[in-house]
Structure formats: C-alpha cells, structure tokens
C-alpha cells in the first residue's frame, strides 16, 4: 500500500463510480417528491419519499408487534398443553405454528422461497432439454413450434388452468406444501423456463467447429462430449438465459400472487389496495421499491455465480 496521493485518473474513476449514480438517485427522489405532491387520488395524496420512509418503519414496527403476539400465543399454548397433561398424562399435545397474519417481512420470505423453487424447477427442466435440442437438429425442428407457441403466453392466462389442475390432482390429507405454493411454483416455472431453454439450445448448437472436431478425433463418448465440451462452451449463453428467466420468474410471481391471492408480496400489495386506508398507498409504494430491490439483487447474484462458474474469466458481464 503506497502513500502517494491518488492520481487524478483514479479520482475521476471513483467520482464516476459513486457520484453519478448518487446524483441520478437524488434527482429522481426530488422529482418524485414534487410529482407526488401534485397527484391527488380518492385515497389521498400519492405517496412521496417521506411517506415511504415513514411507512417502512411502520411496517417494521408492525412486524415486531406481531412477533410479540406470537410469543404470547405460544405461551398460551404451553399453558393449555400443561393443563391438558395435568388432567390426563397420556394425552397427545403438540405445539403448532402461530396463526396470526403474515407480516410484510414474512411475505418477502414467502415470495423469495417461491420464486427460487419455481426457478430451480424451471432450470431443471430447461437446461437438460436445451442441451438435447441444441445437440440434435431433428429434435430441435420437432420441438421448435411448441416452444415458439408457449413462450409468449402470459402467466395470468396459465393461472386459472394451473389452479384448477392443482386443486384436482394435488390432494392429500397432510400435504407437504400448501396448494397455493404449488400453484405459484408451477405458474412461475411455466413462464420462466423458455429463455433458459432457448439460450441453452443456441449456446450448445453454436459450439465452434474446432471443438467439435477435437471431440470427434478423441472419439469422446456422448456423455463426456456433453460434460467436457458442450456445457462449458455454452455457459455464457446459458447464463444469459438463466438471468432472463429469473427476472421473468420474479415478475410473474408477483402478478400470480396478486391474482390468485397466494401468500407473498403480491398479496400484500393487493390487500393494502383493498384496505383503502390513508396509509395504504404509502405501503404499496414501499412494497414496489422492495420488489425492485429484490429483483436487482437476484440478478446480481446470478451475475456473481456466472463469473464464478464461467471458464472465460475475461468476459465482460453486464
């Protein structure tokens, strides 16, 4: 570590990296504040930065209050169970989860778990299938019309069908997952597998001829060809697909939760809209920002993963 004064060059770099985004944010917040003051809805003024700030603390306080009620609930249960056992030592007692409302923080957790599960399922289907059709032109020609047909379908069109099918087929007395979770998961998967599928196929099918020749000369068996040549070569394209898929999955999930009233951030937004209280719009705005931040972080996480896995460490990831 040298103690030289930072060169003019590095000062400009730091300024560019820090100040410009900050400036952009400040201008946006200011414009938002001015605009919000001038929009009057039947539920009061449009929420500006100050309301959002207040409401986010309100939501956190809300969460803590609910945790307090949960502790009281558990205590009551233990007392009741103790009383039952005192009466009849052989009685069967069990502690059950809190029955109160899910808070904003709980809903964020629910949405994250659902989106990651749906995305994982979509990737499990899309990546192997993408490799297969990328390697095999005949298969690609056969499946291409289907892919083109289902790719543009909106999640909201699938939702009623998925809901009905899940209700009919997913029947058990003690289900491992809630029906609503399964519905959301399948809807998310259906919509988010296409970008991964197509990009993987494109990546695999456009492996350079040199690599293919190497494989032929060495007489690599099929699986080895896939593992050593096809997958590494198509990683960049695959990740492009995965990132698109994850973005779509996150968007689809919020819409699906809103429409199907499945637990999660989408339901939180819809419930607040139905409340129509003077705090509602501010809370919805908090949720909007949180949804944006989470979407951004998911994308960043995928980028990190890509730079870890990809063999080409010099590629610029955007």
């Amino acid at each position: 570590m040298s103690l030289r004064a930072p060169s003019a060059d590095s000062v400009t770099r730091i300024a560019r990296a820090l100040l410009l985004p900050l400036l952009g944010l400040l201008v946006f917040v200011f414009a938002w504040h001015i605009a919000a003051r001038n929009i009057d809805t039947s539920l009061g003024k449009f929420p500006g930065p100050t309301q959002v700030y207040e409401q986010s603390f309100g939501l956190i306080a809300d969460h803590q209050r609910e945790r307090g009620r949960e502790a009281a609930f558990m205590e009551r249960q233990e007392k009741r169970n103790a009383a039952t056992l005192a009466k009849d030592p052989g009685a069967e007692v069990r502690l059950r989860n809190y029955t109160g409302k899910p808070t904003f923080v709980d809903q964020i957790g629910t949405s994250l778990v659902t989106v990651l599960a749906g995305f994982a399922l979509a990737s499990l289907i899309a990546i192997p299938l993408g490799i297969l059709i990328g390697l095999n032109g005949t298969l690609y020609a056969a499946l291409n019309p289907l892919i083109q047909l289902f790719k543009p379908v909106s999640p909201l069109a699938w939702l009623p069908l998925v809901t009905m099918v899940v209700s009919a087929l997913y029947v058990s007395d003690d289900p491992m997952f809630a029906k609503s979770f399964v519905t959301s998961l399948i809807t998310v998967s259906l919509c988010s597998l296409w970008p991964t599928l197509i990009n993987t196929a494109v990546g695999v099918s456009s492996i350079s001829q040199d690599l293919k020749n190497v494989s032929k000369v060495l007489r690599l068996p099929f699986m080895t060809h896939v593992l050593k040549i096809a997958i590494p070569a198509s990683i960049p394209a695959m990740f492009t697909g995965l990132r698109l898929s994850l973005g779509i999955a996150w968007m689809v999930l919020i819409a699906a939760e809103m429409l199907a009233q499945n637990p999660g951030l989408g339901k939180f937004v819809w419930d607040e809209f139905q409340n129509g209280s003077s705090d509602s719009l501010g809370r919805i705005m908090v949720a909007v920002l949180v949804i944006g931040i989470i979407g951004f972080m998911l994308d960043r996480a995928m980028q990190l993963l890509q730079s870890r896995i990809s063999w080409d460490k010099n590629a610029v990831v955007r």
Binding site: L43, Q274, S277, D279, R283
Partner: protein, 438 residues
C-alpha cells in the same frame, strides 16, 4: 325439534387447525373478534383468518377445501346448492349479521335527483329516499340513449337483491337474468344496468364515471362521503328493516366430516356476536380499532367507526342516527331462519336466476338443505350449559319452527311471509311470478 338439556358434551374437535376466508367488509367482525378475544382458542381451535380477493375466489376455495369455511353472502350457499354458478352443497348454521349496506350515487346524479326529493322543515331531504326520485334522472339518460350503470358486488349478493328491490319499488326496471339462454348479465329489459364491481373498487369506479351509483357494504359508502366522490342516499335498513346479510358457510362434506369442529366454530362465533352487541354497543369502539388493522378491514378508523357506532353520514354533514345499522346479535341476528333463506330464493326467482316456476315446497326444501338451525341450537345449548350464555338470549328451541313472523318493514309496504313464497311473488309489479318464463 326438541333437545334434552342433559346433552352429552361436545367431543374434541376432529380438526384443530382451520383457515377461514373473508372479504374486507365490516361485517366480517364476528370472525375477527372470535380470533382476537380467544373464543376460537377456548374451543381448542387454531384458526387463521385470511382476506380473499373476491366472492367468487372465496367460494371456490371453500368448495375445493383450501378454506374450511368463510364469511359469505346469504345468497352464496343457496346459489351454490341450487347450482346457480358453481354447483356445490354449502350449508350454514350461523347468520353473521343484519343490515349493514347502503346505496350511494355519484355527486352529479345526486345534484340531478335533489330537486325531486321532498324536504323537511330544516330543508333536509326526507328519508327514506325512494327510487321514484331517481326515475326522472334514469329517464333522462334513456332519452339521450346513454346507459345508466350501477355497481353491485355479486350476482347472488344481498346487495344485488336490495338494489333491485329498491329500484323496482320506484318503477325502475333492474333487468332479468336468463341462465337457460346463456344470458347471465342480468340486464334483459333493464332501465338501470347492473354489473359486478368488487367492493373496495367501488369508490374508484364511481369516480371514474364507469358507474353512476352502487350498492355495497361498509366502509365503502362512508368512504365515498369522506373522499367527496359520492352521496349515500339510503341504507338497507330503510329498504327492509333488519334484513339478514352475511352467513358463515362451510361445505356439507366438511361439516359431515367434522361435526364437533363445526359446533365449536359456531359456539365461538355466537360469543363473538354477543360481545359485539354487548352493553348497548359499548364494545364497538374497540371492535372498530381491531377492524381498522390492515389484516382485517384495514380502512381508516373514522370511516369504519361511522356506521359501526350507530351513525351514518348521508350528504356531507348530514349525519343521522341509525343505531341498528350493524346488528350482530340482537333480534336473534345469529339464528339461521328458514324464512331468510326463502326470501333470497324468492328474489332469485323474481329476477330470473331461477328460470322456472317452483312449488312452495321446493323453496322450503332448499332452505332446509342449506340453513341448519339444528346445528345452531346444539351449539347454543352447549354455551348455556357452560354458563357462558342465558337461554333467554336465544329463540325458544323447543317451539321455534325457523320462520319469522310475517315481516312488514319493506320500503314498498309489501308484507313478506316465508310460508307462502309464490303468493309473495304475485304482489310485485316488476318481476317474474307464477309460470312466467323469459
């Protein structure tokens, strides 16, 4: 139906973890109170209450078992059981409340109605305001070839039948349904075109000019006054005094599988209803605070408080006492009367949702299939034995036949007697009766 007092105590619940659905309206209060006051827990039940998107979703989720039961419109179990809309056998052993709705029109319509409304000595409009004063406005719309649209919450909702009743009493035709012809819009030969709007969206839809008025439960009428976008002109209390409004519905399959659970749920709800009406509405402010939380109704305290504490604001500043606007327990509000069920069935017939003539016996059979005072009586007896309630707080189960005495408090002065639904239908000028078919 007689019950020995020395009844066996209700056994342990078959299912302890339950999920109930509701729509964000003040009359979901018994559910919220039974939860918050620990009445469900007293019965050994662990209940989650969850807001639903709309009445259709709520009903479907009760049918497919995602919900164990729900706050329902009185017409929903009846409609589902006779197969209007989704076919499923739904029963109810607990009526949730009386009254609680209002009809609101936009500021513009109010201004055009006003000249026709008689005034009292203080210059305030004389109540109840009949639809006769709206008729000239609707006629004007017709003459200009413009549709006069109004919103209600669901085809088999109390609000739909109340709005239709009020309009027809004033000579405005609300339109027929013709399900056998595939027309379920309910707008055949209509002067006023009614369509479905979810309650929370009512004020916004009115403001947008898509509808000119609506019939909805609280807090959405008071909300319109607070936001200055509309004027509530009449409450359903003035259309039909003490009319049954919501019920607690469960599917018959669920009730057969979980009889003890069902009884215990009804017990908890009866106690909640009693608490809501106790000491002359003394608990209402606390109830309003609970309802204004975001997990329940979530509207502002002042908006909910208006009607829940016995006042109702019509025009801005025109606040009047309506002590019975929300009744949860008084007047045997919680008892599932067959005659209440039959009234809803008569209105379904009147507007064509039931397309063919039906004998009186049919009306009574359906009411018996859906409304279950026997289960209610068992739950009530159990509460009496536990010393939580007095026998005097309930109908006399030994003699009660499930029919209210003929009811006379309708805005058009027509008397309703549940024993003779077909004769009742003949008294109306507008509506199907006898062998009429569209």
């Amino acid at each position: 139906m007689t019950l020995s007092l020395a009844q066996a105590a209700i056994g342990p619940p078959e299912k302890e973890d339950l999920k109930f659905g509701f729509i964000k309206l003040t009359d979901m209060a018994p559910l919220a109170i039974a939860y918050e006051k620990g009445y469900f827990e007293d019965e050994g039940l662990f209940v989650q209450v969850e807001a639903q998107a709309n009445w259709k979703v709520l009903l479907d989720r009760v049918i497919d078992g995602q919900l164990d039961g729900a706050h329902m419109l009185a017409g929903q179990p009846l409609g589902a059981t006779i197969g209007y809309g989704t076919q499923a056998h739904i029963i109810t052993a607990f009526s949730m409340d009386l009254n609680g709705n209002g009809i609101t029109v936009s500021n513009d319509i109010w201004e055009r109605m006003k000249p026709h409304i008689p005034k009292d000595a203080d210059g305030r409009p004389v109540h109840p305001i009949k639809a006769d004063y709206l008729k000239p406005v609707v006629d004007e719309f017709k003459a200009q070839g413009k549709p006069f649209n109004m919103g209600m919450v669901f085809p088999v909702s109390t609000h739909n039948y109340e709005l239709r009743y009020w309009l027809a009493a004033g000579g405005i035709h609300p339109g027929f349904y013709a399900p056998h012809k595939g027309d379920i819009s309910g707008q055949l030969s209509a002067d006023a075109l009614l369509s479905v709007t979810p309650p929370p969206q009512m004020p916004a839809t009115l403001e947008a000019g898509t509808i000119h008025g609506y019939c909805v439960g609280e807090p959405w009428n008071q909300q319109a006054v607070f936001k200055g976008i509309g004027v509530p002109i009449i409450t359903d209390y003035e259309i039909w005094k003490d009319n049954p409004e919501k019920v607690f519905g469960v599917s018959k399959a669920w009730a057969d599988a979980n009889p003890n659970t069902h009884l215990r749920v009804v017990k908890a709800m009866i106690r909640a209803a009693k608490w809501l009406d106790a000491n002359d509405n003394g608990n209402r402010p606390e109830a309003v605070e609970i309802l204004s939380r975001p997990e329940y109704v979530g509207a502002d305290y002042e908006v909910i408080a208006n009607s829940m504490t016995g006042t109702f604001e019509y025009e801005k500043g025109d606040i009047r006492e309506v002590p019975d606007f929300n009744v949860f327990f008084r007047h045997n509000a919680t008892y599932p009367y067959y005659s209440d069920a039959i009234w809803y069935l008569t209105q379904m017939r009147r507007w064509g949702q039931i397309e063919d003539a039906k004998p009186d016996s049919w009306f009574m059979d359906i009411a018996k299939k859906v409304y279950r005072p026997d289960i209610y009586a068992q739950a009530a007896q159990s509460l009496i034995e536990e010393g939580k309630m007095e026998a005097s707080e309930f109908p006399d189960f030994g003699t009660e036949d499930g029919y209210r005495a003929p009811q006379t408090h309708f805005i058009d002065g027509i008397t309703y007697d549940g024993h003779s639904p077909n004769d009742y239908l003949k008294k109306f000028g507008i509506g199907l009766k006898g062998d009429d078919k569209i």
